[in-house]
Symmetry: C2
Amino acid sequence: MRDVAVIGVGMTKWGELWEKSLRDIYVETALLAMKDAGVDKLDSIYIGCMSSGLFVGQEHLASMLTDYLGQAPVPATRVESACVSGGLAVRLGYIEVASGMSDMVLVSGIEKMTDVSGNEATYALGTAADQEYEGYQGITFPGLYSLIARAHMHKYGTTREQLAMVAVKNHKNGSKNPLAQFPFEVTVDTVLNSVMVADPLRILDCSPITDGAAAAVICSLETAKKLNKPIIKIIGTGHATDSIQLAQRRDLTWLEATYLAGKQAYEMAGKKPEDMDFAEVHDCFTIAEICVTEALGFTEKGKGGKIVESGETAIGGRIPVNPSGGLKSKGHPVGATGVAQVVEIVKQLRGEAGERQVKDAKIGIAQNMGGSGGSTVCHIFERE
Amino acid sequence: MRDVAVIGVGMTKWGELWEKSLRDIYVETALLAMKDAGVDKLDSIYIGCMSSGLFVGQEHLASMLTDYLGQAPVPATRVESACVSGGLAVRLGYIEVASGMSDMVLVSGIEKMTDVSGNEATYALGTAADQEYEGYQGITFPGLYSLIARAHMHKYGTTREQLAMVAVKNHKNGSKNPLAQFPFEVTVDTVLNSVMVADPLRILDCSPITDGAAAAVICSLETAKKLNKPIIKIIGTGHATDSIQLAQRRDLTWLEATYLAGKQAYEMAGKKPEDMDFAEVHDCFTIAEICVTEALGFTEKGKGGKIVESGETAIGGRIPVNPSGGLKSKGHPVGATGVAQVVEIVKQLRGEAGERQVKDAKIGIAQNMGGSGGSTVCHIFERE
């Protein structure tokens, strides 16, 4: 298999984009990535999207968006695996380029979530859980993650304040990200006094409902060199599944699919957790980031709360986590999130991240997760 | 890229399977394919499904089904491109094996369509059309294909009877397929007197609403030889997109994406249309098969009606089309259809197709299509 590089990334301001349709948002974002890469011809397109059927009543998305992008008849594929749809689009694009089948591939993700009511959005997101064994009992995603949070607090003594500190850190980072949906800082007190969603998780522990897209152009390393672009290599990929039902897991606090996907990516890259200069991870809820930092090996089991409290995961700390602001502050258009992580990593590795730049960043890992952890995709990137 | 072979296929009886859930149908079918291949360990799984979100309120399908199949933590990916979702699952599996990334991959497709009302199913299927420019005007799929049919009749003199003959031929073939949803013969008269759906298309011109799944195990040619299995090679793959809006096409009667995907597959295989011993094609409506036979080069533009009338596409004819019974008689669980074509082709090439066997079949082509032709995937298979 050939070496693969990212040569262009694109993302627009995320939020409640009521004045733009799904196709508008997609085309604007994809064109930014293609402009950044300096290419106007593609061999193939992958689009991550969780539920355009339920959110906007549109399937057959890949062909529709490829046509609007002016790229038909290029082969285009939509992939879905709940909130890991974007990460999967990156992985499949990687495989297609690495295989030699295609040379220039657009990997992208999108979700338009605010054209439906809050209840409808909650239902649509709930389809990432096991509907027959979880959804029909009435549980929603904040409920599922609240069970994880309570288990973590019970087992490891993780505190309510430590959960809040994840939100405080990520909003601080996001306040320096002009594309973030909520680019403002919050305090521990604000989080602790925000409205309760599912005890112990409050509204400021939850990532928001967002409209947005993200895109990246990837190609063979050889082509990237010919094009004379700053080269960011994809040196590791990992993908693993787990039961999407919490009730089937051995340990509520342990994200086995994240552990395995991370392990695969580290092994392929020949790197260890301590070689990472920073990470973009799936903080759909504050507790999620805590569990992910443990599963990726940035700390021991049970100590995810402590490393956020100690400042180790802040920019300037031992292993900065979510310099972009994460899903928490940047927003979480579910199908786009995994690709937006790549956008941030490429900006960081190029030294283009402005006020939120991680100093001397050379290697970064992206961890994107579906549902309550039923699927995870990890990628490791290195600046050449 | 490595050579790839199909070593196992599985399919169960299709129909209105009210006593089985989506996960039951999937697991039963996948296990059949794995048993046929003689493998119980997989490296990766691809699942084609168009709209489990709208049909059964469940996304995150790949992880859920992989877990139920007992294969978690194996990487699993759901792909969607309307009715070409199954064909795409085959293509992505092919790329993953050909790349060397994985060796043993399950490619599969499923749709559970009868748990909702007819109106809801019509809405869900309508999301394969451009909702903003077609759906919101009230047009449904029979309506879109009726426009294609009228244009073909007007431009080429295709007759109402020729449309009916597609149904007659496919039901005749399907009557010999024990897994078909409607395994009975029909006459031209029955078709012409069946209830009108969208003039000129009547109910017997339309493929049905179906619950069903199909699966195949693919691996490297090298591994297939070691396992001492009958070897069916995938020698060509093609994938192309087009506008999903009929209004944007230059010619309503011409399926450009099918033409291009077919061309890619033929070129990769080093074969021509006349080298094909038979074809499984996407006859979602009778007019679709007529247009597809032209786009795949089995006849000249405009003569698709004539070759069904002359018997050239019957079993025993010059180029048998849809020996399985096609979508028309076998049924059309949309995400499963593209994989079921592979099941039929493998059975034919192994000489296991019973009463519907195409004599001395050595090479077959599968053409799977999304929406009104906005995406097409073609694969060519050869018996070694």
